[in-house]
Structures are given as structure tokens and as C-alpha cells.
């Protein structure tokens, strides 16, 4: 399929890159990426993927836009307060680039629906804000062998890695089980510097684009730690563990788990957890 004149102009700064070219831009237009959580991480990821011309972008989020989101969740604006995030995200991304079709998934991901949802995508981005979703997304991506960009943020810090099942470690190789209730706070409880989400989510967008294009070195096997107070990036080598509960040689997690209970057991007494903060 040929590019229109408008597309040649729109993507000219991509097409001029030898590593991308017209062929790479066509790959981006044909790619399907699922973003889990239209929040602090999902916003910069979604904005850059849409601008880059990733043709199909799914957004899984069942929350509505709240005032406290607007400090960092750039997919949403003040007039969007109270609207469903996946619809607000769709409107923003499609306005940036009419080549992009955003598929809203206005559901909370569970063991019952996640495999069906991710089946339609080439790459998954974890921008969720809670451990039940993070473990569910990791396990589902390992089982379905989907590449996953993983990141977590809190206060002034971020952690980001790329998971390609079979090629490197998964989230459970690092953290085999979720932390006990109350041990690790959420952004709601401990805060987040808005720009940290921007830095880390943008790294995720870069990883997704490279995965689609098949260029460069990804964060597979590396955990990148960002600290905004120090302005440091520290890189840790990480390895697949043969005893990993989900991607190890003898997996013990063979069915998807809904860890809902441990969110509500959280010590601080926060009862309702946003899908993305």
C-alpha cells in the first residue's frame, strides 16, 4: 500500500531515518499495540505511539478521569473530568493522528478476559497502577508469548524493562510474588512527580517502536532505574530464573491469578484502587 502525500509529509522525519524508512513506517501503521492503563505512563506512551503512526492502539482502562489525574496524565484535559479514560484517550490520540484507530477496552482486566484482549495485539504496554494488574498482565503475556514493556513509578523513581517471553526474564523472575499488603505504597498513598511518568512512559514508547521496527537493543535482560531527584539512570542486569513461577523450567503459575484480595487488604485502608494513577 502506498503512502498518501500527507503521510509522506507527516512521517518524513521517520522515513528519513535509515533505520525506519518507508518500510518501517509501514510496519508502524500495520502494528497493533495494547496499552494497559491510560494514566501517568500510558499517556506519554499513547501520545508518542499515536504520533508515530502506530495504526491500531488498544486502551484498557475502566476508570473515569479524576481531578487528581490531570497533574500528569496528559491524555486527559480538564473538560474530560468524569469521562471514561479510554474514550478521552481515544479522542486525544485520534486528534493527533487520524491514521490511528484507538480501540477502547472499558473493562477491568481479569483472568477471564485478558487473554482474549491481548490476542489481538502485537505488543503490550503495562502502565497500570496496581500489583494485581501487573502480575496478571505479565503472566498473560508469558503464556501468550507477547512482548511486554513493563514500567512502574513512585515518588521520584521509575523502573522500566522489556520482557520478551522465551528471550529474557519476566516480571516474576525479578519479583516472584506480589509484595504483602501495605509493604509498598501506591501513587495515591505516596505521590508521584508528574514528569517522572513522562520520562519513564516515553522510554516505554521508544521500546515499543523499536520492537515493532526490529531495530536497536531493547531493555530485555536489563532493568533501568530512573531517579529524578538525583537525575540518575542506573542499569541492572537481570536474568531469567529457571525456578521462575511462570516462565521457569517447572512453572507453578499455570493459570492466571486474580490477586484482587490483596489490594483491598492494603494496610493504609485505601479501598478503591484506580486502575491507573
Amino acid at each position: 500500500m502506498e503512502f498518501t502525500e500527507e503521510q509522506i509529509e507527516r512521517y518524513s522525519r521517520h522515513i528519513i531515518l535509515p533505520e525506519v524508512g518507508g518500510k518501517g513506517q509501514r510496519r508502524l501503521l500495520d502494528a497493533k499495540v495494547l496499552i494497559v492503563g491510560a494514566g501517568g505512563l500510558g499517556s506519554p506512551t499513547g501520545l508518542y505511539l499515536a504520533a508515530a503512526g502506530v495504526g491500531t492502539i488498544g486502551v484498557a482502562d475502566s476508570d473515569a478521569v479524576e481531578m487528581s489525574n490531570l497533574q500528569r496524565q496528559l491524555l486527559h484535559s480538564t473538560p474530560d473530568l468524569g469521562r471514561q479514560k479510554c474514550l478521552s484517550a481515544k479522542e486525544t490520540m485520534e486528534a493527533i493522528n487520524p491514521d490511528v484507530s484507538v480501540v477502547p477496552h472499558d473493562v477491568r482486566l481479569t483472568s477471564a478476559n485478558i487473554l482474549d484482549i491481548i490476542a489481538g495485539y502485537d505488543v503490550v504496554v503495562d502502565g497500570s497502577d496496581n500489583f494485581p494488574t501487573r502480575y496478571l498482565v505479565n503472566d498473560a503475556c508469558v503464556m501468550a508469548r507477547k512482548p511486554l514493556s513493563h514500567a512502574g513509578i513512585l515518588r521520584f523513581e521509575g523502573q522500566v524493562t522489556t520482557i520478551i517471553p522465551g528471550e529474557g526474564p519476566c516480571y516474576r523472575c525479578l519479583y516472584p510474588d506480589p509484595p504483602p499488603p501495605g509493604l509498598v505504597p501506591s501513587c495515591q498513598e505516596a505521590g508521584i512527580l508528574g514528569a517522572v511518568a513522562g520520562v519513564v512512559g516515553t522510554i516505554q514508547a521508544g521500546e515499543v517502536l523499536k520492537l515493532i521496527l526490529g531495530i536497536g537493543d531493547t531493555l530485555v535482560g536489563r532493568l533501568l532505574l530512573y531517579n529524578a531527584l538525583e537525575v540518575t539512570f542506573r542499569e541492572m542486569r537481570i536474568a531469567r530464573h529457571s525456578d521462575c513461577p511462570v516462565c521457569g523450567d517447572h512453572p507453578t503459575v499455570t493459570a492466571l491469578i486474580d490477586y484482587e484480595e490483596f489490594c483491598s487488604l492494603r494496610g493504609s485502608g485505601s479501598v478503591s484502587e484506580e486502575v491507573t494513577s
Binding site: 492503563g37 494514566g39 501517568g40 505512563l41 500510558g42 503495562d126 502502565g127 497500570s128 497502577d129 496496581n130 500489583f131 501487573r134 514500567a151 512502574g152 513509578i153 513512585l154 515518588r155 523513581e157 521509575g158 523502573q159 516480571y171 525479578l174 519479583y175 516472584p176 510474588d177 506480589p178 509484595p179 504483602p180 509493604l183 509498598v184 505504597p185 501506591s186 501513587c187 505516596a190 508521584i192 511518568a197 532493568l223 532505574l225 542506573r234 542499569e235 541492572m236 542486569r237 537481570i238 536474568a239 491507573t276 494513577s277
Partner: protein
Amino acid sequence: MSVDAPLVTLRFFGALRDTIGQKEVCLPCAGGTVKEILLRFVEEHGDAVRHFIFDEQGNQWRSLLLLLNDEPIEDNQETHVKAGDVISLLLPLAGG
């Protein structure tokens, strides 16, 4: 302990750093395993810190990631540390 005693560094990230109030702590090291170093550290810092690293049975939490000199540790029960080593302690970050 003499001033030039060999040291091992514990480096903290996330909630651990906030709880301990320091980026890193240096401990005298005359050999021993990673687990022995951690046990010695929590003995000196009390329950608030112990709670992040070990469960009530004294087993390391499976949600704690330990790295030795920015590299994976195969088995922290057995891995021996030497002077100058840096043990990093990381917890997963929930936020997004």
C-alpha cells in the same frame, strides 16, 4: 574495627530508601553470605527495616529483588560477598 576495615555496601531503592533514610549503608565485611549480611543489617536497624526484607518466619520476601554489583544473584542464601561488593535491594513499584 579499624578505619580501613573491608566494607560491603547495601544500596536501597524506593520505599526501603525512604524508610531507612539513606541511599546506602556500609557494613564491615569479613566474608559471609548475602543473607548473613542482611540479617546483621536488620538486627542493627530494627523491625521497621526487617519487615521490608524478611517475613515473620525469617524468609526473604519474594517481592524483594537483590542484585550483587548490579548483576543477578543466583541464590542469596549461598552467595558469598567480598569487600567492596554492593548489594542492591529493590522493591517493585506499583504506580503508573
